[in-house]
């Protein structure tokens, strides 16, 4: 049985997520919430048979119970996320946060999804697009040997960076750096984001540098990286290593490219695709658990 979900935010991310969720075995998108009645996302949602409101999350709240909404994806902005999450959580709805607000624990499915199982978390955060693309590579190195310092450079096409990312650029660098540490396993993390306006738009590029504490075990790292890429490709088929790993003293560098599926967004916007795919993968795991009765959601304080 699928679990019912609501998509908060009718922008690029929310709309792309809807197209992916419509194909899911575990998640059934029922509502899309926006604030602009004329948004393309809401129009696409109506066409796809979803219920919609343009009154923000408050327009959804009265319908949660009757439509048995158990999971909500928040793809609005860091500024409004906390309030959205509070309102949904107190009504027993679990929230998957795609903004950089990061009030809940980080989730990078290929690295730590299983750790979230059974914890009854009501809010998990998807870090950032750059985080989803790079943290698996930091983790691929840190599971072989200690990483003293992890640094990621995410380069995305200007056209794929919406107003949310632009207004929240500091939150991106902070949240991603923190995810590189907490989920990636680097003792210190650093994140850099570049928006490149080239035409035709460039496919998302990510560079990952790790400084290992001791001399890198080249063979073990190569194998670990290869396995990690295969795991990410299960939900993001366009994830690939372009060059590397390059070994230079204690530096290990990997040069990645992330091509999206092109559901709602163009294929170059792999940055957005990897977010929506990761969020859906996370919801599916919880959906599977709810369906199997492994976890049962309950309203906070109820």
């Amino acid at each position: 049985m699928k679990i019912n979900a609501a998509l908060i935010g009718s922008g690029n991310i929310g709309t792309d997520l809807m197209f992916k969720a419509l194909r899911s075995e575990w998640v059934n998108p029922v509502w899309m919430v926006g604030i602009d009645p004329d948004s393309d996302g809401l129009a696409k949602a109506r066409e796809a048979g979803l219920k919609t409101t343009h009154d923000g999350v408050d327009g959804l709240l009265p319908h949660l119970a009757e439509d048995n909404i158990q999971i909500a994806f928040d793809a609005t902005s860091a500024y409004v996320h906390a309030e959205n999450s509070r309102k949904l959580n107190e009504r027993g709805v679990m929230v998957i946060d795609l903004t950089p607000a990061a009030i809940g624990p980080y989730c990078v499915p290929v690295v730590n999804l299983k750790e979230h199982v059974g914890k009854k978390e009501m809010n998990v955060n998807m870090v950032s697009c750059g985080g989803q693309a790079t943290i698996p590579m930091v983790a691929a190195v840190s599971r072989v040997q200690p990483v003293e310092y992890g640094e990621i450079v995410a380069t995305v096409a200007s056209k794929s960076a919406g107003p949310g990312t632009r207004k929240n650029i500091d939150e991106f660098t902070r949240t991603t750096a923190s995810g590189v540490e907490i989920v990636g396993g680097a003792a210190t993390g650093k994140a850099i984001i570049i928006l490149n306006p080239a035409e035709p738009p460039l496919i998302m590029r990510d560079t990952v540098h790790c400084l290992t504490e001791t001399k890198p075990d080249e063979d073990a790292i190569r194998q670990s990286v290869e396995e990690m890429i295969a795991d990410v490709r299960k939900y993001v088929p366009g994830y690939k290593l372009v060059n590397g790993p390059v070994f230079d003293g204690n530096r290990v560098s990997m040069f990645m490219q992330v091509q999206g599926l092109g559901d709602y967004l163009p294929k170059y916007a792999g940055n957005l695709d990897i977010m929506t795919a990761a969020a859906l993968r996370t919801a599916e795991l919880f959906g599977e658990e709810i369906a199997n009765g492994t976890i049962e959601l309950s309203a906070a304080g109820a």
């Binding site: 650029i169 928006l195 490149n196």
Partner: protein
């Protein structure tokens, strides 16, 4: 050209852009000695940070000899008249760095974005203005867009609260007519009280000529570095530009002879190699490539055995912009693959 009586604020870049030329390895003692000498010569504004601005310390751009905070705290107490500025590139540094810089006593914050991406500077410019700092919007690689588009981006920064807007020739690609056109339209379209600045690189030996064109068209702040210590073939050589302005009757308040002494006696001995127009830096200017890529490309060339000139040309073809230093090794590795394929094909 008549610049008689024009007042020009000279802004020295040795201790920020110059960091690129010495792999960010300037010592605290050198910083203090140079800043003090510039102050004594009458230079009103001096930039101090990592070459890539606040928070630039990284594998990607290079780890500096000292942190931004250490440099700023060392230099600022020695300044008698000069003010200190700091550069901040959103996506690299954050408002946390900005607040740190203000606490250290930084007077001017320059928020730098690629010339089409001004809207990522809103958080930083708004805050700097609120903190009553001298707030500059710095549009990099300005050769890559048309004058009208540049105006649109400049207006965003002005709207967030920048009191000065820079047209930045990061690649040293512009010719004087382009500078005239861009500064001219900015002067025409921005608020009259908004100051305008020009930041040149000397890759085509046009740093001085372009800066003259900028002043004529309405810019009143000009960046340069004494002895040209900066990325690529360096910035506009400040002691030269100051002497030119003096001859033309423009006013900078900077002593012509003292500045020459700073160049020869303080800056040149700090150089790891002569900052000059060699083949690679000429390619930067000719192909419109970000000047800071120079030494990174030379290093990748040595490590991977691919000519640095070829790496730089390819970076230009790919439309790389400021901050994409990570693409340099990536391009070098792609070129190796391409060469191998070509060799296999001809075998």
């Amino acid at each position: 050209m008549n610049l008689e009586g024009k007042k020009v604020t000279l802004h020295d870049m040795c201790l920020r852009d110059g960091m690129h030329a010495v792999r960010h390895q300037i010592s605290v003692e050198q910083m203090v000695a140079l800043a003090t000498a510039l102050d004594e010569a009458g230079v009103p504004l001096i930039e101090v940070t990592h070459g890539d601005g606040l928070g630039g310390s990284s594998v990607n751009y290079g780890f500096p000899a000292h942190s931004d905070e250490e440099y700023l705290n060392a230099v600022i107490p020695h300044m008698k008249n000069a003010k200190i500025s700091a550069l901040l590139l959103p996506g690299i540094g954050t408002v946390d760095h900005l607040k740190m810089a203000l606490d250290c006593g930084v007077h001017t914050i320059r928020v730098a974005t690629h010339c089409t991406e001004a809207d990522v500077s809103e958080q930083h410019i708004t805050l700097a203005r609120k903190l009553e700092m001298d707030t500059v919007g710095f549009l990099m690689m300005a050769h890559m867009i048309e004058p009208d588009a540049l105006v649109e981006q400049a207006r965003l920064m002005e709207g967030y609260g920048a009191n000065c807007i820079y047209c930045t020739d990061s690649a040293g690609y512009m010719l004087p007519d382009e500078v005239t056109a861009k500064i001219g339209i900015l002067r025409e379209k921005l608020k009259p009280e908004t100051e305008l600045g020009f930041h040149g690189h000397h890759n085509m030996a046009l740093g001085v000529a372009n800066s003259m064109a900028a002043v004529e068209a309405g810019a009143n702040r000009i960046d340069g570095s004494v002895a040209g210590l900066g990325a690529g073939a360096g910035n506009t050589p400040l002691e030269v530009f100051n002497a030119v302005l003096d001859r033309m009757g423009a006013k900078t308040g900077v002593d012509v002879f003292k500045l020459m002494d700073v160049a020869d006696d303080v800056v040149v001995p700090m150089m790891h190699q002569m900052v000059r127009i060699d083949r690679d830096s000429l390619i930067l200017g000719y192909a419109g490539v970000y000047s800071s890529f120079l030494l990174h490309a030379k290093r990748a060339a040595r490590k991977h055995g691919v000519p640095s000139s070829e790496i730089l040309v390819e970076l230009g073809k790919r439309g790389t912009i400021g901050g994409q230093e990570d693409m340099i090794e990536d391009v070098a590795l792609d070129l190796i693959k391409r060469h191998r394929q070509a060799a296999a094909g001809s075998a």
